[in-house]
């Protein structure tokens, strides 16, 4: 084990995957990842083409072009940068290019805010990218290696973004285990594209498709998303066999088996929730956790299975679909429709607002109140709002 910054642990994993082309544009708090990777390239530690660009739109466009030639590609961005990529993200998925991206999570302007929430990644929900979310530096690093296996699988062939909470994970120093190069090489063979651009065999990527066939292409992407579920679970198990670390498949659970109240969340808040659960359990409260590792494809079956015996499920969203409710909450309710526990939605941690153990305890108390009364009084609510300034 070594102690290092989360961003550097990610950069080390990227290096171990031997990408051919990396293109990125620096933006806080993603900067330390690409800064470290560009240092590796400059110092000759990583033999790859690092292409500097003038925007995130260009960075993703470079990745699309490079990936179409059969190159293994990587990029990272956050917040406004991810928003600027939006258009090209659809192309990457539609062209079925297995690009891997670290989606450092940060709030969106305005007002401008550099701190963590997950609005940026959630807002890319429908682009056709597989979306994973990491709990700690170790998982953010290990997920890179898993992501290439998932993305490049011929049954999948979709890009993967890995959510990593800005500052909370990118800037934390904590112990991590790096994967030895020879083991990564065994786990992750060279990318074998099914079709790729080369002057010897001219192809057209991205022709216009008329109404007679567009829906079929969308259906094919949707089907690939469905197949990705099994692949994500299998890769997680294979990773455990190879490296000895496991974070769950599509979801993970903690103290969930006999839980009356389940908390469902994703990202770096998971650790704080686990500590809160230990304290609540010591108090005799039956509380458990469902950690969503994979947000798209959405693990409907796994969540239903984990939640079916609980009395209430509290869904934590570090995002909001303005005018409705948190995105995870909507998804979870659709899974539980007409069955399972009461569902409560909580909007919290926006723009870097700290989430403490007592935040979690208050949420659990509200869920217990709903169980007692048998109904959910307020479906979706903001947590820790300062009413004084409103």
């Amino acid at each position: 084990m070594k102690i290092m910054e989360g961003s550097h642990a990610v950069a080390e994993a990227v290096k171990a995957c031997r990408p051919h082309v990396i293109s990125a544009y620096p933006i806080t708090p993603q900067t330390h990842i690409v800064e470290e990777i560009s240092r590796m390239v400059a110092d000759g530690e990583l033999a790859c083409e690092y292409i500097r660009v003038e925007s995130e739109h260009s960075a993703m466009s470079v990745c699309v072009g490079a990936s179409a030639t059969g190159a293994r590609t990587y990029t990272a961005t956050t917040s406004q940068g991810m928003a600027l990529m939006h258009e090209v993200l659809f192309n990457a998925a539609g062209l079925r290019l297995p690009i891997v991206m670290t989606a450092v999570n940060r709030a969106l302007s305005a007002p401008i805010n550099i701190w963590d929430d997950q609005q940026d990644a959630i807002s890319q929900r429908d682009t056709g990218w597989i979306q994973l979310h990491a709990e700690d530096s170790q998982e953010a690093s290990d997920m890179i290696i898993q992501a290439y296996r998932i993305a490049e699988d011929h049954d999948v062939l979709l890009p993967v973004m890995i959510g990593m909470d800005g500052f909370i994970l990118t800037h934390v120093y904590e112990p991590v285990e790096l994967c030895p190069q020879e083991k990564v090489d065994e786990f992750l063979p060279l990318y074998e594209p099914t079709q790729y651009l080369t002057p010897k065999n001219p192809l057209t990527f991205g022709p216009i498709v008329d109404p007679s066939m567009y829906m079929e292409f969308r259906y094919m992407i949707h089907e690939a998303m469905g197949r990705a579920k099994k692949k994500i679970m299998n890769v997680a198990s294979e990773f455990r066999d190879k490296f000895g670390r496991y974070y769950g498949g599509l979801i993970d659970t903690y103290e969930a088996e006999d839980a009356e109240v389940l908390i469902l969340a994703m990202g770096s808040v998971i650790g704080t929730i686990k500590d809160a659960i230990d304290e609540l359990r010591a108090d005799g409260k039956k509380v458990g956790l469902v950690k969503v590792r994979c947000y798209r494809p959405f693990p409907a079956e796994a969540i239903l299975e984990a939640a079916k015996d609980a009395k209430a499920i509290a869904v934590l969203d570090k995002n909001i679909s303005l005018g409705h409710e948190g995105a995870l909450y909507t998804d979870v309710k659709s899974v539980l429709y007409n069955k399972g526990p009461l569902a409560l939605g909580f909007i919290l941690g926006l723009g870097g607002r700290d989430i403490t153990k007592s935040t979690i305890e208050n949420i659990v108390a509200k869920a217990q109140k709903a169980i007692e009364s048998g109904r959910v009084e307020e479906e979706s609510e903001f947590v820790d709002l300062d009413q004084e300034v409103l």
Partner: protein
């Protein structure tokens, strides 16, 4: 688990101090975690960083509200931000100042210790970058982390002469602080 909160200003090495403490604690065989809370990233703005040290893996990621130890790199922050907020009564506050503890108007039940780390930095480094000296003083005052591990972490972070000078500042502050 022991929790440390460091207050300073942008450019004073508040974040580096936290990282060095976490690295040194890890070298001592502990689990550790360090992370910053940036205000707006500019020189001079008040900045806080956090360190957790534990015998078991650390999962908690919230800010530190009730630190066992508080390190104040810049005494002018007293009054600007509530530096002593939540410090445990049985904890310790270490302030970089030439003043004696009783001359500081700190609202804390915790023990207050002071050291003129800026002077040590000026004497040893010739520059007022006092963060390494201050963590040397922390090592002595609290006994939580070995001075050898801190010096090792400092020399790894700043290679060459700068590392050696900073390690000297660590040792000097360690020797000046009473255990």
């Amino acid at each position: 688990m022991k929790e440390i909160r460091i207050h300073g200003r942008g450019g004073q090495g508040v974040v580096t101090s936290a990282e060095l403490l976490a690295i040194a604690a890890f070298e001592d065989g502990k689990f550790s975690q360090a992370f910053p809370f940036f205000g707006f990233e500019r020189r001079g703005a008040p900045i806080v960083s956090f360190v957790r040290i534990s015998d078991s893996p650390i999962r908690l990621r919230s800010h530190i509200y009730n630190p066992d130890y508080l390190i104040v790199q810049d005494p002018t922050l007293v009054g600007v931000v509530e530096v002593t907020s939540g410090v445990r009564p049985d904890g310790m506050v270490i302030v970089n100042t030439e003043k004696e503890p009783e001359k500081l108007e700190l609202e804390a039940e915790a023990q207050v210790r002071t050291i003129n780390a800026t002077k040590i930095a000026m004497d040893v480094l010739g520059r007022p970058i006092m963060n390494t000296a201050l963590i040397g003083a922390f090592a002595r005052a609290t006994g939580e982390i070995s001075v050898e591990s801190i010096k090792h972490a400092v020399m790894n972070r700043f290679p060459g002469e700068m590392g050696e000078k900073n390690a000297e500042a660590v040792q000097k502050a360690y020797d000046m602080m009473r255990g």
